[in-house]
């Protein structure tokens, strides 16, 4: 047994699985024998101690649109190859891909009872949603950080695949999973707590044994009283812009937002508007941008008196890979303008 190679199955999306870009994101799960794409880098890092026996690939949109079904299908495909450990991604800061990798981890851990190693940027929603299922190595926000992620992911996969116990997140190089374990230490807790307090008073470094969890929740606003009298604004992270993208909003990791005047616009046509979002197949949104930003319906409701009026400007950015810090800044600035302009409610659409 000692010399047996660890059996690895690798999960990838359609892009890293070399099937195609957004136009192939509807791809249902499929399997290819052996390593593929990033799997080649992992194979190199394993140095003959482990083998990627198969690669399971699924389109990001297919997965996101059918999370439960996709998780079961992918897990079943992985199970056929009887892995010791499963690799998923890395997904960097791609939200759909990270969510898919996390859901695969849940399926594999719960159904196949095998460990899963993934790689994500800490802001990837897949991390917070699924961190208790996978051992997730911290990566940069884009695939440029693949090289750096491979080594640590491969090392964890080898250890877990051999059934070895892992140490704490900071020792082993994975992101905290929110799991508490009992350990015995030489010094009792009262002494450790006083030591920590003394260090703090002296201005020295100390590490909390239980950092307080940080839940950034906002209280729901009181409901809108009378929409027939209200000014309602549209905001989108779906990247709808006037044709030609005059403000050059980036299709991924946007560094700006823009506002555009809707005066005299009753319908978003393919002639005048488009999407610049790089995280989905843009054909449908380009053919009819109302599919993302429902200006046509808002005008209808305005005419019928169901809303007071549609705010003159709409605000737009691209949510794809955009950092939480940036998104927060944009929205805070947008909200301040909307309030100044007397807007009473906001409909925000996301793709």
């Amino acid at each position: 047994m000692a010399n047996r190679k660890v059996r690895v199955v690798h999960y990838l999306n359609q892009f890293f699985g070399q099937i195609g870009g957004e136009e192939k994101a509807d791809l249902p799960p499929t399997v290819k024998e052996g390593p593929l794409g990033p799997g080649l880098a992992f194979t190199e890092a394993f140095q003959d101690q482990a083998e990627i026996v198969a690669t399971v690939i699924c389109g990001d949109t297919y997965f996101a649109a059918n999370i439960d079904r996709a998780r079961e299908e992918v897990t079943a495909l992985i199970g056929r190859y009887n892995p010791d450990v499963v690799l998923a991604g890395p997904a960097f800061n791609a939200g759909r891909y990270g969510t898919a990798c996390g859901a695969v981890a849940q399926g594999v851990v719960e159904t196949l009872k095998k460990p899963v190693v993934s790689g994500m940027h800490p802001e990837n929603p897949g991390y917070e949603m699924y961190r208790r299922f996978a051992y997730i190595v911290e990566t940069g926000s884009s695939a440029a950080s693949l090289r750096k992620a491979v080594g640590p992911m491969a090392r964890l996969a080898l250890k877990l695949g051999r059934g070895e116990k892992l140490g704490l997140p900071q020792e082993e190089g994975y992101l905290p999973r929110g799991i508490r374990k009992n350990v015995f230490l030489a010094e009792r807790s009262s002494k450790r707590a006083v030591d920590m307090l003394v260090a703090r008073l002296r201005g020295e470094d100390y590490v909390s044994e239980y950092p307080m969890p940080f839940f950034d929740r906002v209280e729901p606003s009181p409901p809108l009283k009378d929409p027939a009298k209200a000014r309602v604004a549209l905001v989108t992270s779906g990247g709808i812009v006037p044709k030609g993208n005059p403000d050059k909003i980036e299709s991924s990791s946007a560094t700006s937002y823009a506002r555009y005047d809707l005066s005299g616009v009753d319908d978003l046509t393919d002639k005048a508007y488009q999407t610049v979002h790089g995280g989905f197949d843009p054909v449908y949104a380009n053919n009819d941008p109302d599919r993302v930003l429902p200006v046509d319906v808002m005008r209808e409701l305005e005419k019928e008196g169901l809303i007071g009026r549609l705010h003159r400007y709409y605000y737009t950015t691209v949510g794809n890979g955009t950092s939480v810090a940036n998104a927060r800044c944009y929205a805070a600035a947008i909200a301040a303008e909307l309030k100044r302009d007397g807007v009473q409610a906001v409909i925000l659409t996301s793709t």
Partner: protein
């Protein structure tokens, strides 16, 4: 973004496709959308039916905005 708008005191409804992400991020009023590339549409439908579908979603969003809630709520 939804959260920051809400923090500023404006009632906001999130029409989005991947509801679990919206819940994780912390939106309070959520209306599930149709699909990622066309959250408020469906290219399989006729233009007229598609607009009706979009209208239903926007009306649902307006209803969500008028609903008193204590915690995150998905209006499906």
């Amino acid at each position: 973004m939804v959260k920051e708008i809400e923090r500023a005191g404006l009632p906001v409804v999130h029409i989005c496709t991947i509801v679990p992400i919206s819940l994780t991020v912390g939106a309070n009023r959520i209306v599930p959308a149709v699909a990622i590339p066309y959250p408020l549409g469906d290219p399989e439908l006729t233009a007229e039916e598609e607009k009706k579908l979009r209208r239903r979603l926007v009306i649902k969003a307006l209803q969500a905005l008028q609903t008193e809630i204590e915690e995150q709520t998905v209006f499906s």
